[in-house]
């Protein structure tokens, strides 16, 4: 176990190098966020009532602010590119020779990376939320907030395991970036980056809830805003946990198949 603490430590130091880069990224990221908020304000201004599919303007604004927060805490940054790169360029050799579990190793680096990113990005994001505080709602009660935190944790794991599995495709194909972008596109729309999934026609939303995508982002935000409640909430948490375990096992399986194909190219 101790060796993985070292990995986390190294991960922290390595990502600290990119702190300015992270700061730029989080500040630039606020511009499209601002634009989306303006867009919704214009939509609400053109309507008679303060209601779109059960969202008030404040609820809608909070949705996008929370998406930014959860994304900051859980999004896979460059881990998938790095894993694919290590496979392609043969750098995986050193891990195969050491008594270290690659998935755990990668998970530690992912955690360290997210920690640094959050520390750097939290400043600009909090200032932004403060400016928008009129439109920022708090969770209905402490229990809801607790479940939100639990769900965010599972979201991070799900994000990681999905990206990990995807990156392992590099064992079979030379260029995985297109596949990563295709997966990202689905995540972007079916995960709730663009709009809250419960403004979709109910049938469509119901079907989506069985795919892994909503649990990569929308679900914890839905809990926070009190949009997911009662039985739906427990059922959702169960499905989320199932997807986390499912992708963990799939990642392990794909790894064991992939390593057999691995040719240690370039050494």
């Amino acid at each position: 176990m101790k060796k993985y603490w070292h990995v986390i430590n190294i991960g922290l130091q390595n990502t600290l190098v990119y702190r300015v880069n992270f700061l730029f990224r989080s500040v630039f990221g606020l511009i499209p966020l601002m634009a989306t908020i303006y867009l919704w304000r214009a939509i609400y201004a053109g309507k008679q009532s303060d209601d779109v599919a059960g969202y008030t303007l404040a609820g809608m604004t909070s949705y996008y602010l929370l998406v930014t927060l959860v994304d900051m805490l859980t999004a896979v940054n460059e881990d998938d590119w790095q894993i694919a790169g290590e496979i392609r360029e043969g750098n995986l050799n050193q891990f195969l020779l050491k008594p270290i579990d690659y998935l755990t190793y990668r998970l530690c680096l992912f955690g360290a990376g997210r920690l640094i990113y959050t520390v750097v990005a939290l400043g600009p994001v909090l200032i932004f939320i403060l400016v928008q505080r009129k439109f920022f709602v708090l969770p209905p009660d402490a229990a809801t907030f607790g479940l939100f935190v639990l769900s965010v944790g599972m979201t991070a794991l799900l994000q990681f395991f999905m990206s990990y599995t995807m990156a392992l495709l590099a064992f079979w194909v030379l260029e995985v970036s297109t596949f990563i972008f295709i997966l990202f596109a689905f995540e972007y729309i079916a995960g709730g980056h663009l709009f809250p999934l419960d403004i979709l026609p109910p049938v469509l939303a119901k079907i989506l809830y069985f795919t892994p995508f909503p649990y990569q982002l929308f679900f914890p935000v839905g809990i926070y805003l009190g949009r997911v409640r009662g039985d739906e909430l427990w059922q959702g948490l169960a499905i989320q946990a199932a997807w986390v375990i499912g992708f963990y096992l799939l990642g392990r399986f794909v790894w064991s198949r992939g390593v057999r194909k691995y040719t240690a190219f370039g050494g």
Binding site: I31, M34, A42, V52, I182, Y188
Partner: protein, 292 residues
Amino acid sequence: MKVESPKQALENVVDQRLTDTNAVSSSSALRRYFSIYTTLWRNSIVREMSFKMNFILWIFVELLWFALQLAFMVVIYQHTNRIATWTKWEVVMLLGASHLIQQIFSAIFLTNIVQLSEFIRTGKLDFMLLLPVNTRFLISFRQVDLGGFVNAASAIAVMIYAGRQLHLSPSAAQVMGFVLLAASSVLVHYSLMLIVASTSFWTVRAQGIVWGYYNLFNIARLPDAAFRGFFKVFFTLVLPMLLVANVPVKLLAQKLSSPLEMLLLLCLSLVCFAVSEGVWRFSLRRYTSASS
């Protein structure tokens, strides 16, 4: 022959390259640059065709993202009839136009500009300074990304469909105007992105900033009337993102509040280009190569 220090030699080369620019104006030089560009095109086609599968997959990725933007607007218009003054099909047309402009920009310039910081970091820019062509021409046009043109076609198809839904029958003058305005929009993106990429002469890792600029394309596809205050002024006059796709579409959809909007876009595109030329020349003099 006088012995130069490496630094002097580099400065002389940069000076020469910068004065070469003047030669572009004569017609024989134009013909020469045209033939160089034809060769660059041929090289790009050969390169793309050696990775056919990848070429097709990238087109698919871009199509998917375009479809996603359209889906977003379709979902929004399930819940409202207008965004400020914009109706559904007008916004679809706007998405089409901004995608068209973005794809043409990507096809001609994007890869080249993103690579600039890499050339500076590794010192490969040396080789380009030594070639007897205008260096800005070379770093701007080195590669063509053919997939961009395929995706531009899909954008045009969406625009035509939206135009039909709006019962538009644009005159030849309107279409010409659209092409001219779209071209100046591409010029805006190109100039601004070159300015951003020129920071590579100062910081080693400018690629992040270049991709940061790419974020701004997200604003260009939103209807201008939704924005207010400082945000609107900034993204109209300083970084004209709210003009680049909006104005050409407003011309086609007859939504222009005054012809001055077109004039503003045309003027700003020329201003952006002039500023980028100034920044480029100023930055290039800072170039110290990598290994010396």
